[in-house]
Amino acid sequence: MSESIVLITQDGVRLDGRRIDELRPVKMQVGVLKNCSGSAYIEQGKTKILVAVQGPREAHPKHIALPGRAILRTRYHMAPFSTDERKSPAPSRREVELSKVIREALEPALFLEEYPKTVIDVFIEVLQADAGTRSAGITAASIALAEAGIPMRDLVTAVAVGKVGGKVVLDLNEAEDEHGEADMPIAMMPSLNKITLLQLNGRLTRQELEEGVNLVKKGIKELYSLQKQALRARFSGAQVEV
C-alpha cells in the first residue's frame, strides 16, 4: 500500500510506459515440444509460461473414465524459481484453485464427447511470474489444445483488467497487481462472445465493473489474433492452401 509509487500519471501513462488500454508485449509459439500432443509457449511482459497437452489418452486410474466424454485435467503450477522469493514446489491452495478455474475456462470450448473414456491433460508451468499468469496460461493452453487436434468451438483467450491509481487498465504487470486496487482476470471464447472465466480480487464500483468488461474485450481481440497467427505459423508449409 505504498502511496509513494505513482502507478499512472495524470495523462494516463503507466510505470512501464503503456497507455491504459495497452497490452504488454506478447510472444506466442505453438509446437515447442516434441513429446506432447500439443504445446505452446507464451511471454506476456515478463510472464513466461510453457504449456503441454497430453492426450486424449487412456484414463489412469481406469475408474475415473467417463463413458460419455473425455475428462479434462489441468495443472497450473509455478516453478520454484518463478517468483522473487523461492516458491515451494508443492502445490499451494492458490494453485489448486487456479487449476480448477482454468479447467472450467477451457472446458466449454472443447468437444470432449468426441473422446469417451479418455483423459486430456493440460500442464501449465509458470516459468516466470509477473502477474497475469492464469490468463496467459489459458491463452497458451487453448492454442496447445488446438495443436493437439482436439476439436473446439472456439479458442479461449484471457487477460486481466484492473484498477490502478483510480483508473481501469488492461493487462496488469506485477507492480500494478501488487499496489493497485483491483485485479479482474477474464477469459472468453471471442467469436462466440461468451465468458468462461471471471474472477475479481479488489474493489470496483458497478461502473468500473462495466468499464472493465468492455476494456477486456479490446485486449482479448488482440490476443485472439495473435493466437491465430501462432497457429498459422505452426501449420503453414504443412499444407498448400488452395
Binding site: 487449476s99 478455474v101 479447467r103 472450467e104 471471471l198 474472477q199
Partner: protein
C-alpha cells in the same frame, strides 16, 4: 430405506434433471416455489460457543454453516510489521453431504474457502492496523474457522455470512504494553470491522439466473457466480465456478442481484448489534 447411491450427482443424470428444472423455470417458478430473485430464509445466531472469541451459526433454508473466531497474539508478516493477521478457512464436514469426505480438502473445498477468504480480505473489512500490539513483534492473529455442517446448496454464502457475523460479534482482550511485555487485561473489545462484505451466489441454469441456488439447482447449474458486495455498492470479489459460460450482460445482472440481496442480508446483520 437404504440409499445405495446418491444419484443426484451422477453425471449421466444431470441432463435429465436439468431438462425437468428448465421446464419448470420456463413457467417462472423454481422447484421450491421461490421467485428467481428470492433468497431463502436466512437465520443468524451468534455467540453460540463460549470458548471462541466469536461464533455464529447461519442457516439458509436447510444449509447450515458455523464459524468460530479465535484470536491469538502472534508475529506479524515481515512485509506488514504493523498489521494484524487474518486467517480464514472453510471445512466441508462429512456430516454435510455424502459427497464430502474427511481428509485433505479437495479442489471444491479449497475454492470455496478461498472465495470466502477473499471476500473478507479484499474488502479490507478489518482494520488490521488496529490489531497491532507491538510493531514488528506482536499482533493479533485472527483465525476464522468455518464448518459447513449441512449442505442444501449455497455453502459459500452461508459460510461468508457466518464468518462475518462471528467477526462482528467477537470480543478480544484489551492489552497493556509494558516495555517489551504484553499483558492481557480482563476487559474486552470488538474486532475493528470497517466493512460488511456479503457474498451472494447466483446460479445460471440454461438462460435463467437464480439467486441462492438450492442443492438440486446447484447440481444442474451450468455456472455459479459469487459476488461479494459492500454497503457502498463496491464489489470486492467475484468468482465464476463451473464449466459453463456467461453472456456479457449477465455480469451486471448478477451484480445487481448480489448488491440487492447483499443489502437484505446486511440489514439482518445490523440487528446483531
Amino acid at each position: 430405506m437404504i440409499l445405495l447411491a446418491d444419484l443426484s450427482t451422477v453425471e449421466e443424470f444431470v441432463p435429465i434433471q436439468q431438462k425437468e428444472l428448465l421446464a419448470l423455470l420456463s413457467t417462472g417458478v423454481r422447484e421450491d416455489g421461490r421467485k428467481f430473485d428470492e433468497y431463502r430464509k436466512v437465520e443468524i445466531q451468534t455467540s453460540i460457543y463460549e470458548k471462541a472469541n466469536g461464533s455464529a451459526m447461519v442457516k439458509i433454508g436447510n444449509t447450515v454453516a458455523v464459524a468460530g473466531v479465535k484470536a491469538e497474539l502472534g508475529e506479524p508478516f515481515p512485509d506488514t510489521p504493523n498489521e494484524g493477521v487474518l486467517t480464514v478457512s472453510l471445512e466441508l464436514l462429512p456430516h454435510a453431504s455424502p459427497s464430502f469426505e474427511p481428509g485433505p480438502p479437495d479442489e471444491n473445498a479449497v475454492e470455496m474457502s478461498r472465495i470466502v477468504d477473499r471476500g473478507l480480505r479484499e474488502s479490507k473489512s478489518i482494520k488490521t492496523s488496529d490489531l497491532c500490539v507491538l510493531p514488528g513483534k506482536k499482533v493479533w492473529v485472527i483465525y476464522v474457522d468455518i464448518y459447513a455442517m449441512d449442505h442444501d446448496g449455497n455453502i459459500v454464502d452461508a459460510s461468508g455470512i457466518a464468518a462475518l457475523a462471528a467477526l462482528l460479534t467477537a470480543k478480544i482482550p484489551e492489552v497493556k504494553v509494558e516495555g517489551e511485555d504484553v499483558v492481557l487485561l480482563e476487559s474486552t473489545k470488538g474486532i475493528p470491522m470497517v466493512e460488511r462484505p456479503v457474498p451472494v451466489t447466483v446460479a445460471k441454469i440454461g438462460d435463467y439466473l437464480v439467486v441462492d441456488p438450492s442443492l438440486s439447482e446447484e447440481n444442474v447449474a451450468d455456472v455459479r457466480v459469487t459476488m461479494t458486495t459492500l454497503e457502498s455498492g463496491i464489489v470486492s470479489s467475484i468468482q465464476k465456478s463451473g464449466s459453463g459460460t456467461l453472456e456479457e450482460p449477465d455480469v451486471l445482472k448478477i451484480y445487481d442481484l448480489a448488491y440487492e440481496k447483499g443489502k437484505e442480508i446486511r440489514s439482518l446483520l445490523a440487528k446483531l448489534g
